[in-house]
Every structure is written in structure tokens, then in C-alpha cells.
Amino acid sequence: MKIDFILNKKPVHIDTDPLRRLLDVLREDFYLTGVKEGCGEGECGACTVLIGGEAVCSCIVPVGTVANEKILTIEGFRSTARYRILEKCFIDAGAVQCGFCTPGFIMAAESLLSENPRPDETEIRQGIAGNLCRCTGYSMVVDAIQKASVQGKGLW
């Protein structure tokens, strides 16, 4: 099936099985390996991308359903001012350890802050509850997002 969508702000066109997972299409056809596979069933959030601004696990999205959608991955997001603030705050808060979950958390944070630019701690915890991290115990990730919401005031 022929599918058109906007990937990282550029129109793309593929001809593929519409049942393939968006995750596989992103990783295999577009070499976007910042999108990680942690569980393959929408539980861990390592493969989080934004579809129309909403954080979604790309492992449970058949690529046929994204026709004409705008898809943003870490590779597209990392050139933005919002990303730079998040990156700095993740570093300063110590929110990164093994890093496998980190791009997914960045995308979840972008989605959360877009909806709610000044979330409190509880809202942040709820906002990232779909992303698993086994290294940090989460508080340092929560701190990072809180710092970003303050330091990036006006960006979201």
C-alpha cells in the first residue's frame, strides 16, 4: 500500500504492508534508530514518537493508520529550541543513565509540556507514567522536566 505522511517536517512516501509497525518502518526504512524497541507491546514507551503532537508508542501503530499524519521522532525534534532546553535539564538533573528509555522520555516530556507548560510534580509523574525507566527511579526525570518547564518559559 502507498502511504504518505510528514516525517520530521518532511513529506515522505512509502509503499509497504500497511500492517507493519510504525516502529519498524521508522527504524528500518528511515534509519531512525533513536526510536527504541523496549517491549513491542506499548508498555515501556521507549519507542515514543509524536503523531499530530500526541505521544504514542510506535510499536503498536500499524503504519497504514498514519497516512497524512505529522510524525515527529527524536531525530526531528533534536534540532529545536525546546529540545535544547530539555537536553540541558536532563543533563543537569541527572535524568540519564543507560539512556535506552531517554529519547522516549524526551518525546513524552515534549508532549506533556505542549499540553501543560507548567505542570506540577503530580502532573509530570502522570504525564510520564507510560514510560518505563529501570535505572533512575524517576525522580531525577521528574526534576528534569520541572526544570525545563521553568527554564523554557515561553517556549511551550
Binding site: 523496549g38 531525530e75 539512556g99 535506552f100 518505563l132
Partner: protein, 713 residues
């Protein structure tokens, strides 16, 4: 130069945040093929036949016939084959690989293969193994290891006791749940094999390949790829799959990638050992413990793996932080037809610490004493003797660590106030006091590992760290660099430390046992001091340093007598909970933690170790349930094996009390495993306080809590 404790930007942070870091599943080589494992569906059986239909060109079957050397994964006992020979011993045991260019075709080929088995009566649990109705899996007694330690004269102490108290403690399986599943790539070129993979121990993998290939070591190269969490799960297991991809690459003549999906990883890779621990204590007329008698049994699963060493660590910390003058500790690692259990953060310590802490709490309740007062009476002090009759040589700062958590948490106040709570929500507060022996057990560092490190000064005045220690999230690519930069007095940016490649780095030992900073870091400090002295001697040179045991260490590995560890790190935790007696759900309301890890090499990285370790430990005690039913795990994914999420835990209040160690770099001791060890007993004590019933088992499932509470009515 700033203080070494002061946090710096992690070397690996940016590349991980921006998604450019390449994990093993992100790597693609020209012509690379994929592999998938055909696994046993039987817990214990002889293999009659494996029928493989004709397969398309470009696809390969890789099995026991393709192991050029010895078909045994080198760990300790040489009992586990890379690929099954005539039998299988657990559900999921690898029989063969299907290798080829298309994953879908590989899946079709796997489905079409028929294995016929003839079943043998399996052994599913420690209890069944003890009944002995099924033939033994290992040796004649079905034990991978059994040991005994005797200190003093426990028999006469028990005969003089005024009170005797005994209970049995049980802990369950735990899954590592690192976010990056296991994976490796094998490549074969010009008569050499290279294995790239997610791993903790490049030289364990290399040694396993030497044995499996039967080749000279210079034909084998192992390269660690960015590793997405490990926690012990990538200590011994990668040796198995490294063999698989190496044999496959040789047969196919192309690079072969094997990356597990989550279900394979949850169902078929190593787990934390379930334990049954019986402790009996003898008290004198003044309510002081005069002796303990313990029995520790670990479910080791189908192969020996590292179980004997896990058992040793469990036994060596079995009396916890307490001065017990007379003790008998017996331990056994029992063979069962479960997946082989293995290394997991704490390595036997969490099971033993849970048991002894709950036992101390139970004893205090039995004699009507405040648990903390009772524990304080028995704390180890400098010059005291451990269960193996080793000497505590450092000042023990436990009294200060206890104050550091009981004060801010209002432990004493809440202990009183929470007792009057009514309704269905029960509040409780609990405390644990614990230690962790730093680095390898016994004479392991001196006799087995003999770590070597190298430092290379280059023409552009950068200095490269050449060690086999890996970054897996715990921070050595930052902390080890800090140690070298601080010692040489050069900027951190001038120190290089790449992922280890065995062609370039010496064997500085595995990345395990919280040994990296204390052992490898100390060697790096020593070699950096030498480099500083000879800095201007040449524009480019290399220096090497080799491990030397601190002169005071006395250890008898045959009798388990002496200093099981050169030094200990110590900790205290307070956990506050609410338990709802309608749903039996446990909610963590507060966590306070204090540690003596010597000097922290980076306060922010240490905080990450503390918080992550506590989160895993609280998961272990509560929601992380893994049941094996007839050799099959009931949990197959992160959907049914639940780990904590951001909404399950509150903020953690942690403090460090510095107590420098002479043989650690800048005074550092061990930190990686310690935070895990104390979390479960603190939480279980809080639940015991909330419900007023003895807790002797983790995980604290709603069923278990209902059962113990109603049993009391």
C-alpha cells in the same frame, strides 16, 4: 580543580538523549543476517529427533554440530551447553538458531521445525527437589553447591538459651527488566570472530568464545556496545548468545544479529534466585542474641551458572549488620527445571538481608522490645568479627546513619502514632539497617580476576583509559574519567574512555560486584599517579597497573574463614506505607535513606544509583511478581511483569556520611548494589507495622497480605 564529589556533565548524556547512541539493535552491517532461537517447550526431556523441513537458500540452521570447540558455556561448572545435545532441562533452553535475511521467513521456518521429546520427571521447586522423587539434575545430591560456616560454639549457646525463636523467610524470582533486551552480533572475517554486544563482562564473553570455538585467543575479539541497563542480567547470560552469533556468523559467512524480543527476555534469561531461609536465634536472659542457626536454600534453576558465588555472598552477609558471637550457617544451591538463575544487583545479599532484618524485627516483637532499640544493641562495631570471623576494620557509622533517617522521617513519632490508626487504611513505618561487602567475594580479586588497567598518554596530551569495565548506565565513563583527571590535574575533556574492545583493553575484570570504582578506579588512580611523575618523559607512552590485595586481607576459601570482603559499605532506610485492607494494596508514602559508601565520585551519579536501586528494591518487595508454574513463568512481558512507574514512588530523601577507605580512589567504597539491599526489608517492616502481623515473605502480593492478616484473626 573542583572537588571530585561535585557533579559534572555525564560523558554519555548528550548522545543518549539525542538518540545517536548506538545500541546493539541499532547496528547494521553490510549483508547482516538475523537469527531467532528455537527453544525447548519441555521442562525436562530427552530429545528424540529434530525434524527440519527443506529451507530456502540463504537461510541456515545453527545447532550443536556447529560448535567447533566445546559445547559448554564457560561460567563456572561447564555444565550448560550452547545448544542442547540429547536433552533439555528448562522451558526455553536453546536447541538451534534459524538464521537468514528476512525475519518473517525465519519465523515460518521455526514454526515448521518439529522436535520430539521423551519427558523425564521434572523438579520444579526447592521443596520438590528435597523430596527427591525425580532423578537428580546435577551430581548425586542435586545441589550445585552446599556449604557450612560455623563460628564459635552455636550448639552450646543454643543449649544455654533462655529464649529461642525461629522463622522461615521466602523471597521470589525477580526479572531484571533492563529496558534494552539482550542482544549480540557476530562477525567472521579473515579467520577472526568479533562479537559486538550488550554486556557487562567483555572478557567473560571472550573466554566463553575461546572455549566454544576452541580457537587461540588472538582470533577472538569482543566489543561492548552501548548497554541499555544490565543490573547483573548481562553478567553471565551474554556468554551464551555470544557463542550463538559467533557460530552462526562462521556458518553463514555473514554478520549475524540476535536481538531478543521482550517475551524471550522475560521468559528465558536469568532471574534473581528465589530463596527459602530458616533462621533460629538463641537469646540469653538479658535478651541478647547469643547464637544464630541458619539455613539458606536458593533455587538455582537448571544450570550452575554463578549460583555458588551468589550463595556464598548470601551466607557471608547472613547475619546482617549484627555482632553474633556464635553462628552456624548452611547453604545450598538447588537444581530445578526452571530457567537458570543468576547475577542480579545485590547477588544473594537482598535475600539474606530481607531474612535477617525481618528476623530481628520478629525477635524484637517476640520479646516486646522496640525493633530499633533491639537492633542497635547488636550492631557491629570496629574490631568486631563477622560471621566468617573477618575483622571490621573501619569505624562503623551506623548510629549516625540511623539518626540520618529516623530524624527527618519522624520514625519514632510515627511508630507510636500510626498504631492508633483506624479504618481500612493502615499506616506503617519500617526501618532497615544493612551492609554490602565491596567487590568480589573472598579471594576472587586476587586469585580469579587479577585486574589489570592501562593508561595511555597520547601526543595531543589526551590520556586514554584502557579497561574492560563497561558503562551500562551506572556512570564509570564519567567517574573513572574524573578519577584520572583529578589525579593527573588535567581537564576532564582530555581523558578518553571508549566502550571496551578486547583487542585494545586489558582484562580489568567484569563490571559487577560494585567493584568498578573501588577496584578499577583505585588501580587507575595508582597508574595515573605514576603517569603524573613521568609525564614529560615521552610525548606518548603507556603504563599498566595490576591488582594487589590490601595487605590486611586474610581469607581461607576452603573453610570460608577470614575477610570475606576487604571493606563494607553501610546503609539505613526508612519507608512509610499505607496498606488498604480492602484491596491489600501497599502504597509507599515516604522513603528516607542514608549511606556510607566512602567518598562519592560524583554526587549526582551516586544519587542516581541510590534512587534507581531503591526503586528496584521496592518493586522486588511489592509488585514484581514472577511465578513459575510447572517450569513456565506465568509472566511473559512488561504488561504482566509490572515494574514501578513514575506514579508508584514518591521522592527519595537520601544522605551520605563519608567514611573514607584507604584502598579506594579518593576514599571511595562500593555503591551500586547497596541501595537495592535495604529497600525490601524497610518496606516489609513498614507493612508489618501497619498490619500488626509478621511479614516473612516477599513480594507482598494482595493474596499474601490477606492470608497473613486473616490467619491472625
Amino acid at each position: 580543580m573542583t572537588n571530585i564529589r561535585t557533579p559534572v556533565e555525564r560523558s554519555d548524556a548528550r548522545i543518549k538523549i539525542n538518540g545517536k547512541a548506538e545500541y546493539v539493535g541499532d547496528i547494521r552491517f553490510e549483508g547482516m543476517l538475523y537469527a531467532k532461537t528455537l527453544r525447548s517447550t519441555r521442562p525436562r526431556a530427552l530429545i528424540h529427533s529434530v525434524e527440519i523441513p527443506p529451507i530456502p537458500e540463504g537461510y541456515f540452521i545453527v545447532d550443536k554440530h556447529d560448535v567447533p570447540g566445546k559445547n559448554r558455556v564457560k561460567i563456572i561448572a561447564d555444565d550448560m551447553p550452547f545448544f542442547s545435545e540429547d536433552r533439555v532441562n528448562y522451558i526455553g533452553e536453546p536447541i538451534l538458531l534459524v538464521v537468514g535475511p528476512e525475519r518473517e521467513t525465519i519465523a515460518h521456518i521455526l514454526e515448521a521445525i518439529t522436535v520430539t521429546y521423551s519427558d523425564i520427571e521434572p523438579v520444579y521447586t526447592i521443596e520438590e527437589a528435597e523430596k527427591g522423587s525425580a532423578p537428580p539434575l546435577f551430581g548425586s545430591d542435586n545441589l550445585f553447591a552446599s556449604y557450612e560456616i560455623v563460628k564459635g560454639d552455636p550448639i552450646s549457646a543454643f543449649s544455654q538459651a533462655s529464649i529461642r525463636f525461629e522463622d522461615i523467610y521466602r523471597t521470589g524470582f525477580q526479572e531484571h527488566a533492563y529496558l534494552e533486551p539482550q542482544g549480540a552480533i557476530g562477525a567472521y572475517e579473515n579467520g577472526r570472530v568479533t562479537v559486538y554486544g550488550s554486556m557487562q563482562c567483555p572478557y567473560y564473553v571472550k573466554n566463553a568464545l575461546i572455549q566454544g570455538l576452541g580457537w587461540a585467543e588472538d582470533r577472538i575479539r569482543v566489543v561492548q556496545t552501548t548497554t541499555g541497563g544490565a543490573f547483573g542480567g548481562k553478567e553471565e547470560y551474554p556468554s551464551l548468545i555470544a557463542g550463538h552469533v559467533a557460530f552462526a556468523a562462521i556458518k553463514a559467512g555473514s554478520p549475524v544479529q540476535l536481538v531478543f524480543d521482550r517475551a524471550e527476555d522475560v521468559r528465558f534469561t536469568t532471574k534473581r534466585h528465589p530463596a527459602i531461609i530458616r533462621i533460629a536465634s538463641a537469646l540469653d536472659a538479658q535478651n541478647r542474641i547469643i547464637a544464630m542457626n541458619m539455613e539458606i536454600k536458593l533455587d538455582a534453576g537448571a544450570y550452575a551458572g554463578l549460583s555458588e558465588v551468589v550463595l556464598q555472598r548470601a551466607m557471608f552477609c547472613s547475619t546482617g549488620v549484627y555482632n553474633i558471637p556464635n553462628a552456624r550457617v548452611r547453604g545450598s544451591a538447588v537444581a530445578t527445571n526452571n530457567v537458570f538463575t543468576g547475577a542480579f544487583r545485590g547477588f544473594g545479599g537482598p535475600q539474606a538481608t530481607f531474612a535477617v532484618e525481618m528476623h530481628m524485627h520478629g525477635l524484637a516483637d517476640r520479646i516486646g522490645e522496640d525493633p530499633l532499640v533491639f537492633k542497635r544493641k547488636h550492631l557491629l562495631k570496629k574490631h568486631d568479627s563477622t560471621v566468617t570471623e573477618g575483622t571490621i576494620r573501619q569505624e562503623v557509622v551506623l548510629p549516625a546513619l540511623i539518626e540520618a533517617v529516623t530524624g527527618p522521617s519522624d520514625y519514632r513519632g510515627k511508630l507510636q502514632r500510626f498504631q492508633s490508626t483506624k479504618g481500612t487504611v493502615h499506616r506503617g513505618i519500617g526501618l532497615s539497617v544493612f551492609l554490602h561487602g565491596c567487590a568480589f567475594t573472598g579471594s576472587g580479586e586476587k586469585d580469579k580476576i587479577q585486574a589489570k588497567v592501562k593508561l595511555r598518554k597520547t601526543r595531543d596530551k589526551t590520556v586514554e583509559i584502557l579497561v574492560s569495565s563497561v558503562e551500562m548506565g551506572q556512570g564509570p565513563q564519567t567517574t573513572l574519567k574524573k578519577i584520572v583527571a583529578h589525579t593527573l590535574g588535567i581537564p576532564l575533556e582530555n581523558v578518553i574512555y571508549e566502550n571496551p574492545d578486547t583487542d585494545r583493553v586489558p582484562d580489568s575484570g567484569p563490571t559487577v560486584a560494585s567493584r568498578t570504582v573501588m577496584i578499577v578506579g583505585f588501580l587507575l588512580k595508582k597508574v595515573a599517579e605514576k603517569m603524573r611523575e613521568s609525564w614529560n618523559s615521552a610525548p606518548e607512552f603507556e603504563l599498566q597497573e595490576r591488582y594487589e590485595q590490601p595487605p590486611f586481607v586474610q581469607w581461607d576459601q576452603q573453610r570460608f574463614k577470614g575477610d570475606a570482603y576487604p571493606v563494607y559499605s553501610w546503609g539505613t532506610n526508612v519507608v512509610e506505607v499505607e496498606v488498604d485492607s480492602l484491596t491489600w494494596e501497599v502504597t509507599v508514602k515516604g522513603i528516607w535513606a542514608a549511606y556510607d559508601i566512602g567518598t562519592p565520585m560524583d554526587e549526582r551519579i551516586v544519587r542516581g544509583q541510590i534512587e534507581g536501586g531503591i526503586a528496584q528494591g521496592l518493586g522486588y518487595a511489592t509488585m514484581e511478581v514472577m511465578n513459575s508454574s510447572e517450569g513456565r513463568f506465568m509472566q511473559e512481558s512488561l504488561f504482566d511483569y509490572v515494574i514501578p512507574t513514575a506514579v508508584d514512588l514518591p521522592n527519595i530523601h537520601s544522605t551520605l556520611i563519608e567514611n573514607e577507605y584507604e584502598y579506594g580512589p579518593f576514599g571511595a567504597k562500593c555503591a551500586g548494589e547497596l541501595p537495592f539491599v535495604g529497600a525490601a526489608p524497610a518496606l516489609a517492616s513498614a507493612v508489618q507495622h501497619a498490619l500488626g502481623v509478621p511479614i516473612t515473605r516477599i513480594p507482598l502480593t494482595p493474596d499474601y497480605l490477606r492470608e497473613v492478616t486473616q490467619g491472625e484473626d
